[in-house]
């Protein structure tokens, strides 16, 4: 049986944030005609072609600038990173390699792909969700870290 951590459950901010993420993806799609897939936007910089670089940096600047803009108005909610450096390096390598190999991440496949009812994106989303659940299970409950 799944035990829900009701004290950690934040339905309203989760929903509000989700709507905002959807709005961002919608704006990007309807204004620029593109999918807001972050791994694709970042990864595309590694095989650059003319006229295809600045907008990628602009999108990334928006993401990196978001906490800075937030700080002008209010304190940032906590960002708790408990993974150690070796774990972060391995995680980064796997995320980088995996998202490029699988052509997308939580944004491209998870949000945009499911929004356009793509079975390919559903398959990708189920793969990374399943791997995420199993990995956390192994780390937290089998290895007890």
């Amino acid at each position: 049986m799944i035990e829900v951590a009701w004290s950690d459950f934040t339905p309203w901010t989760a929903l509000a944030g989700g709507l905002l993420i959807g709005l961002a993806a919608a704006l990007f799609l309807l204004l620029n005609g593109r999918i807001a897939g972050i791994s694709g936007i970042v990864g595309g910089l590694l095989s650059p072609s003319r006229g295809d670089i600045v907008w990628r940096f602009a999108f990334m600047a928006g993401l990196i600038g978001a906490p800075i803009a937030w700080l002008m108005v209010a304190d940032l909610p906590p960002i708790e990173i408990n993974a150690g450096y070796p774990s972060l390096i391995i995680a980064g390598l796997l995320v980088g390699l995996g998202t490029r190999y699988g052509s997308g991440c939580t944004s491209g496949h998870g949000v945009c792909g499911l929004s356009r009812l793509s079975l390919r994106s559903l398959a990708a989303t189920l793969s990374f969700m399943a791997a995420g659940f199993i990995t956390v299970y192994i780390i937290r409950h089998l290895l007890g870290a």
């Binding site: 961002a24 005609g33 999918i35 970042v42 990864g43 980064g92 390598l93 998870g110 659940f133």
Partner: protein, 141 residues
């Protein structure tokens, strides 16, 4: 110019959404992925909220050949479900489960000045570079 400004704006809104939703906090993400522990279902609502808006946007986009700013619509057409897609997804999922970071939240946490997020992002870009090298080698042979 307007293309780049729209990109910046979309990235900013996306980042604010990640902060409000809790996705920018790896512990929150891991709380969602930990179904055998005390499970925090919040992130399911993040996905639901984003997809509710997204479904309408794609329904509008599907009827257009040009975006509202006059650019060509670049919507993926591939429907192929192959080994690359699944293995890539699994690899990404393992990395996601190890640190609680996926690409967007990694960049947002980097902007918040987290050194550990910078280490994650640099490793992520290195992983992408490894992919590029493998692909270029594959095309050559």
């Amino acid at each position: 110019m307007k293309y780049n400004l729209a990109s910046l704006f979309a990235g900013l809104i996306f980042g604010l959404g990640l902060i409000i939703s809790g996705m920018a906090n790896p512990e929150k993400v891991l709380g969602f992925l930990d179904i055998a522990g005390l499970w925090d279902p919040s992130l399911a609502l993040v996905m639901a909220g984003a997809i509710i808006v997204g479904v309408f946007a794609f329904a509008v986009a599907r009827r257009r050949t040009l975006s509202f700013l006059g650019f060509s619509m670049k919507i993926p057409t591939s429907t192929h479900i192959d080994k690359r897609l699944i293995i890539g997804g699994l690899s990404f999922g393992i990395g996601w489960g190890i640190a609680g970071f996926c690409p967007g939240p990694g960049l947002v946490a980097l902007g918040a000045g987290e050194i550990k997020a910078a280490v994650f992002v640099v490793s992520m870009v290195a992983g992408m570079a490894v992919f590029e090298l493998i692909e270029r080698q594959r095309v050559k042979t």
